[in-house]
């Protein structure tokens, strides 16, 4: 390997600049220098219309999540990130601190965060967070539904992450330790752990250099759950995913198994969920149109004691139209069926629904 030239290549040399021009350039360069703290705020929002054939349900408009993301470099190696959401409720808006953590970057191989973050289980939970503009579809898969129970969406604790020297394989990792699920299992125990057992999560993923756009990975999560009524369970979550996110086509697929073992009775329940999503950015008119389809399947055994019994099979089909770089319309049809393997869930008859969403970032 020979040394590359340290100066100009053959060809025209720049013309000498006047002192005034040089001063103007120096001033321009000074403006580009980093200043600390450097606060950046970006917002995400959406407005939705939904209609369903479910008896007793009403159609109409609703305000989606209003989401503010804050990023601030505190020094060259220390940064703060936060995400706050406002959710419309019948009596007003619920404010939730979704993420709030400080991160120290040692180098590309080791970055350490402390605070509340999205648990690195699978792909969706850390790829799309809460801004619906980022995701192709109107809503998240059931297994990653915000406020849902299947996946512990948030974690309070610390997270180490980085890349692993692996050449073209592009390996990376996340290892986190935190409070785990709270007594309300959809919440992460912000105010303290519900028991003396810390949860941990480990994720390994690869973003190979070739083919560019491919990502695959797997993760494990371990926790002890203490329900408000007293029973305790050991929880193991194993997840794997494969994604291709170049847009034409877009492919996302994830599988997750949640194992609960009762500490008192040793009874075991395994719940599984997966989704597969296809999208294709059409090649016309500067590619603003992306039709998509997603199939989701959730299996829950009758022996499941921690989750509410919600087996489901769901198909969605829709089209996303990016009307500008930072705003999109989505039109979506959803068919939700009861779980056929369970002989149908009488509490949840099949339903059809239509959604229109405009999602944007500002």
């Amino acid at each position: 390997m020979s040394a590359a030239p340290a100066a100009g290549a053959p060809g025209g040399q720049p013309a000498p600049k006047s002192e005034r021009e040089a001063q103007a350039t120096r001033e321009a360069v000074q403006q580009y220098e980093s200043h600390y703290p450097s606060l950046q705020i970006r917002g995400f929002g959406d407005v939705d219309f939904s209609a369903t054939d479910t008896k007793g349900a009403t159609s109409g408009f609703n305000m989606g999540e209003f989401d503010l993301h804050i990023a601030s470099a505190l020094s060259r190696k220390v940064s703060f990130f936060a995400e706050v959401t406002f959710n419309a409720q019948p009596t007003g808006y619920n404010l939730e601190v979704e993420r709030s953590f400080v991160r120290y970057d040692y180098n590309d191989h080791f970055k350490l965060s402390f605070g509340r973050f999205h648990t690195p289980i699978g792909y969706w939970n850390t790829a799309f967070h809460h801004g619906t503009w980022l995701q192709t579809t109107v809503d998240r898969p059931f297994m990653f539904m915000d406020g849902g129970t299947f996946t512990p969406i948030h974690m309070v604790g610390f997270l180490a992450e980085g890349s692993i020297p692996s050449g073209g394989l592009g390996l990376g990792y996340n290892i986190g330790v935190g409070n785990g699920r709270g007594s309300l299992i959809e919440r992460p125990g912000d105010a303290g752990d519900v028991n003396n057992n810390r949860a941990w999560v480990a994720k390994l993923f690869a973003r190979p250099a070739k083919p560019y756009g491919l990502e695959l990975g797997g993760s494990f999560y371990r926790d002890k759950i203490t329900l408000p009524a007293g029973p305790e369970y050991r929880e193991w979550i194993a997840a794997a995913y494969l994604t291709w996110t170049k847009g034409a086509p877009e492919f996302l697929s994830e599988f997750e198994n949640v194992n609960h073992r009762s500490i008192s009775t040793n009874q075991v329940a395994n719940s599984d969920a997966f989704y597969t999503q296809f999208g294709y950015r059409l090649p016309w008119f500067e590619r603003p149109l992306k039709p998509y389809y997603r199939f989701e399947y959730t299996h829950m055994p009758l022996s499941e004691q921690v989750f509410a019994y919600q087996p489901r099979a769901e198909s969605i089909a829709g089209i996303r139209w990016d009307i500008s770089n930072f705003a999109a319309f989505k039109l979506e049809y959803q068919h939700l069926g009861s779980h056929p393997a369970q002989g149908g869930n009488p509490a949840q008859p099949a339903e059809n629904a239509g959604f229109v969403q405009t999602a944007f970032t500002f």
Partner: protein
């Protein structure tokens, strides 16, 4: 009969028109001959990168040259040939996808800021010269003194098979 022939010719012309490749006409097509050089601050401890490594840097996936030296990404503003080549060859994205990529990257807390955008060659060179760790893509025919030109896949601008053109 004549009416039928006219109609057939019109339909045929319409089909041919639809079949013509309609990639965006860009500055890249207007001046294909110029290679784009990847330049770094002269103190950056690197002389040769593969295209995959250049891509990782421009994607913000590699953020440090060494533990003490962070990468500072510098990009030209839209509608320049340098940016056009970087988007087409390195990112393989349209302007829209590029904008959305960096919004998502910051939102995922993987970086705190998007690349620094510069509006002139002079500012770009001043930045790369003045800022340790800075990297930029410039016109390979007119590289200013004071910066280091990197080999990409072992090749310099002008070499046969150089990928950034």
């Amino acid at each position: 009969m004549r009416h039928f022939l006219k109609l057939s010719a019109t339909i045929l012309a319409a089909i041919l028109l639809l079949c013509v490749p309609r990639g965006n006409f860009t500055l890249a097509q207007s001046s294909r001959e110029a290679d784009i050089a990847v330049v770094v601050n002269a103190d950056t401890p690197v002389t040769d990168l593969s295209l995959s490594e250049v891509r990782k840097i421009f994607l913000g996936d590699r953020q440090y040259w060494t533990t003490k030296l962070p990468v500072v990404l510098v990009m030209r503003a839209p509608v320049t040939r340098e940016r056009d080549v970087v988007l087409r060859v390195i990112y393989q994205m349209s302007e829209t996808q590029y904008s959305q990529y960096w919004v998502a990257k910051i939102y995922r807390s993987e970086v705190t800021a998007a690349p620094k955008i510069v509006y002139s060659d002079d500012t770009q060179y001043e930045l790369v010269t003045a800022m340790p760790g800075a990297i930029a893509a410039v016109d390979g025919r007119n590289v200013h003194p004071g910066v280091k030109v990197l080999r990409v896949d072992g090749m310099l601008p002008g070499d046969r098979g150089y990928p950034l053109r």
